[in-house]
């Protein structure tokens, strides 16, 4: 009995390389992980929610975080929100390359929807981390 449980645990623990790749794809482009697994409705719903959340966040004038701290602010405080923002993968990288959403503009910060935008951008990344874990679990056979 104990031996069987141990064997089952070992089976669960070892995830195939394809599961890691699927997880990475799910992080890089929201929805891609589930698309690769042919889970169409999950890809559209979960990936679509992340894309929408990100685009709405940017439209609201939200701010994306990087390691450049504003004057009088600690660089260390930038790390947790940056990790959350980084969850959107390619969306974050493209925005960073285009310089979109990273500017410390007082006019932008004065917008009524600025804080909402920040929250939407943070949550988009965090939701995509959940998507990534879900795609990984399905690819590893831990979830039906």
């Amino acid at each position: 009995m104990v031996k069987t449980e141990r064997m089952q645990a070992e089976e669960v623990e070892s995830a195939p390389g394809s599961a890691w790749l699927t997880g990475a794809a799910a992080w890089f482009i929201p929805g891609l992980g589930h698309l690769l697994l042919k889970r169409w409705y999950r890809a559209v719903l979960m990936g679509g929610a992340v894309w929408l959340c990100f685009v709405i966040g940017l439209q609201m004038g939200g701010h994306l975080f990087d390691l450049n701290a504003a004057e009088g602010s600690s660089q260390l405080l930038q790390v947790p929100p940056m990790i959350a923002n980084l969850g959107t993968g390619l969306l974050y990288i493209v925005s960073w390359l285009l310089g979109s959403g990273f500017a410390d503009d007082p006019q932008q910060a004065a917008r009524a929807t600025y804080e909402y935008g920040n929250t939407f951008l943070l949550i988009a990344g965090l939701l995509n981390y959940l998507n990534m874990l879900d795609a990984f679990d399905i690819a590893a056979g831990r979830k039906p």
Binding site: L45, A49, F120
Partner: protein, 55 residues
């Protein structure tokens, strides 16, 4: 009104992801997503009323 709509949009997007990745059957997922959405809305409204009375 705009604040309420934004909160509703946020709750919708978050509950879609939570609902899609939880439970086993589509019906259970729909039910769970609806429950999460309702929790977001109710807790948001309760918190906003509490904060309204705090100067």
């Amino acid at each position: 009104m705009r604040h309420f709509l934004v909160m509703m949009l946020f709750a919708t997007l978050a509950s879609i992801v939570f609902g899609a990745m939880a439970k086993d059957t589509p019906y259970e997922r729909l039910l769970y997503g609806a429950k999460v959405f309702a929790e977001f809305m109710v807790i948001g409204l309760v918190l906003s009323w509490i904060l309204y009375f705090i100067p």
